[in-house]
């Protein structure tokens, strides 16, 4: 690898809530097209760091650069406009609606001609585009016109991710994507995360399970009491050395 580009660069991020110093000058970088795992105990500051990047919190000090350009996000929408999508554990799906409606929520396509005058949506086009986006994922969706309430955890994850791929995001942040899943589903979601790379996305995953981290991530950043403890480069699931290194940092 010849000096890969940094998609996200955060330097000296500080954040305090009242007297509590949650982030103490954290540096963070995400390279283009990489899967980065963010690890750390509860209260280590991973969530706060991620929420700073996705626009929910504004840092007290420090700088955020996206693609080399300095930015500051006042709201999550501004972060999203810069191509940063966060997928939370609850996935924020509409259980009562089908895949196409979920993928296009809030930005539904209006048909041409007379349908435009009446503001009627173009179901067929949305369905086709949603099918296209979903079919490129590692998880099969049984029917594109089925309500997502009938789907398994992995399939729901897939719909949520298809959304960010469709809207051309650069960075996808996933908060514990495997937390509530069984073994089989977990495997599928890990596959799903790998396929995101082929869509030129960079992924940040927050995970507690080190085995899962070893399987999907190329790099791991470990946080501890509000600062960055260290970084480990990972070489696949058999890399015992890196595994031990992570464990040591977490202890």
């Amino acid at each position: 690898m010849t000096a890969p580009n940094k998609v996200v660069e955060m330097t000296g991020i500080e954040k305090r809530f009242g007297p509590v110093e949650v982030l103490r000058g954290v540096d963070f970088e995400l390279y283009e097209n990489e899967v980065l795992a963010l690890l750390g105990d509860n209260g280590a500051g991973k969530s706060t760091l991620i929420k700073t990047l996705s626009g929910y919190y504004q840092p007290d000090a420090g700088q955020i650069r996206i693609g080399g350009q300095a930015v500051s996000f006042g709201t999550p929408h501004e972060a999203r406009d810069h191509g940063i999508e966060t997928i939370y554990q609850d996935l924020a799906l509409f259980d009562n609606l089908d895949v196409a409606a979920n993928v296009f929520a809030g930005k539904e396509k209006v048909g041409g001609g007379w349908r435009k005058m009446l503001g009627f949506v173009d179901r067929k086009a949305m369905r086709n585009e949603a099918r296209e986006a979903v079919s490129q994922m590692a998880i099969n969706i049984p029917r594109i016109d089925q309500e997502v309430s009938a789907f398994s955890g992995g399939q729901r994850q897939c719909v949520a991710i298809a959304k960010s791929v469709m809207w051309g995001r650069k960075v996808v942040i996933m908060d514990e994507p495997t937390a509530a899943l069984g073994v089989r589903e977990t495997g599928k979601v890990l596959d799903l995360i790998r396929t995101l790379k082929s869509h030129n996305l960079s992924v940040i995953v927050i995970m507690h399970n080190i085995e899962h981290v070893m399987e999907v991530a190329e790099r791991a950043i470990v946080m501890r009491s509000g600062s960055r403890r260290g970084t480990v480069n990972l070489n696949g699931p058999q890399d015992r050395e890196s595994h031990d290194e992570i464990v040591k940092m977490l202890m």
Partner: protein
């Protein structure tokens, strides 16, 4: 590309049609029930299939049908509106007062509809922007505006309604179809299409599905909620316009208890009380079905006191059938 193609094949739909789902859709089930009920009614009573009876049934339920459209919008968006019955009466009394004051028909109608807008904005503001519980809030406005009706009317029926206004509701300008039926059919079709296809109206289904997800999708959740209550109240006010035009007078006890009758019908028609599910067509069929059931009872000289028993049983059966159909599905 080959990868995506093989996967698309495995998606198994390819524009295909889900017959099983259509068969189990509430609209079809209620539609079939209506047919069965109509056939049974024809066998039970020789008067059922007479023009006079059909006209009575259809006209009799037209007001509840209009109110049901608005309630569907609110229920679909995850709310509930108990104040619709009071709004019908309020609108009726306001119109009668407008006529008493010598105002013209269009202005009287506008005044009635404005009363609906006012109640809708009060409901919507309290629920969406202040964050009060919809059930409690509309229970409150239901009581308040019912009182307002008695205060405004002094408790008396007001019947100084111009004949030309009554003619609007009781005439039949189009192919001999009663005007009211035309109005109701147009409204049902219009709102059904809008909720199904229109970008703005579709947002109610998103809101009812998940408020948090709607918020994250960039939908102005509060304004949309408010608009839902305004639409519901304006339709209820239109129901009030129809009441006055049809009966030629405004009674202060108009539409008492109507909110629960219409909610029953709308749920029979497939609306979920938790939001996110339901169609205007289904709601309309629900109203029609309950109207037919009541009509059978009347034709067979069963006391009107039994109508509540019938409606209640239909409601519980509808919810029960839902539970059976959805058994084994992920919740």
């Amino acid at each position: 590309m080959t990868l995506s193609q093989t996967n698309t094949d495995r998606l198994g739909d390819a524009g295909g049609f889900d017959f099983k789902r259509l068969l189990l859709s509430r609209e079809l089930i209620v539609g079939v029930m209506i047919l069965i009920t109509a056939i049974a009614a024809t066998m039970l009573s020789p008067y059922f299939l007479t023009a006079a009876n059909i006209k009575n049934v259809v006209i009799g339920m037209s007001i509840e049908m209009i109110v049901a459209i608005g309630l569907t919008v609110v229920l679909l968006s995850g709310g509930i509106d108990l104040s619709v019955g009071s709004v019908v009466a309020l609108s009726a009394v306001v119109i009668a007062l407008a006529f008493n004051a010598g105002l013209s028909i269009p202005i009287a109608i506008a005044a009635g509809l404005c009363a609906g807008v006012v109640v809708g904005v009060v409901n919507g503001y309290l629920i969406a922007y202040v964050g009060l519980n919809p059930l409690i809030t509309t229970l409150g406005t239901m009581t308040i505006f019912r009182s307002a009706v008695y205060i405004l009317s002094g408790g008396y029926a007001m019947s100084s309604i111009p004949g030309s206004f009554k003619a609007l509701a009781n005439g039949d300008l189009l192919f001999g179809l009663p005007n009211l039926v035309v109005l109701v059919v147009v409204l049902v079709v219009l709102f059904h299409m809008a909720m199904w296809q229109n970008v703005w109206f579709r947002k109610f289904a998103f809101l009812g599905g998940s408020e948090m997800a709607a918020l994250r999708a960039g939908i102005n959740v509060k304004r949309l909620k408010l608009m839902g209550y305004v639409i519901c109240s304006v339709l209820a006010a239109l129901g009030g316009v129809v009441v006055v035009a049809r009966l030629g007078s405004a009674f202060p006890n108009t539409a008492t208890g109507m909110e629960l009758r219409v909610i029953t019908a709308v749920i029979v028609g497939g609306c979920s009380i938790y939001g996110g599910r339901g169609t205007v067509l289904g709601a309309a069929l629900g109203v029609l079905f309950l109207a037919l059931v009541n009509n059978i009872l009347v034709l067979n000289a069963v006391s009107v006191y039994w109508q509540g028993v019938a409606s209640g049983c239909v409601l519980i059966l509808a919810v029960l059938s839902d539970a059976i159909i959805n058994r084994g599905k992920r919740s």
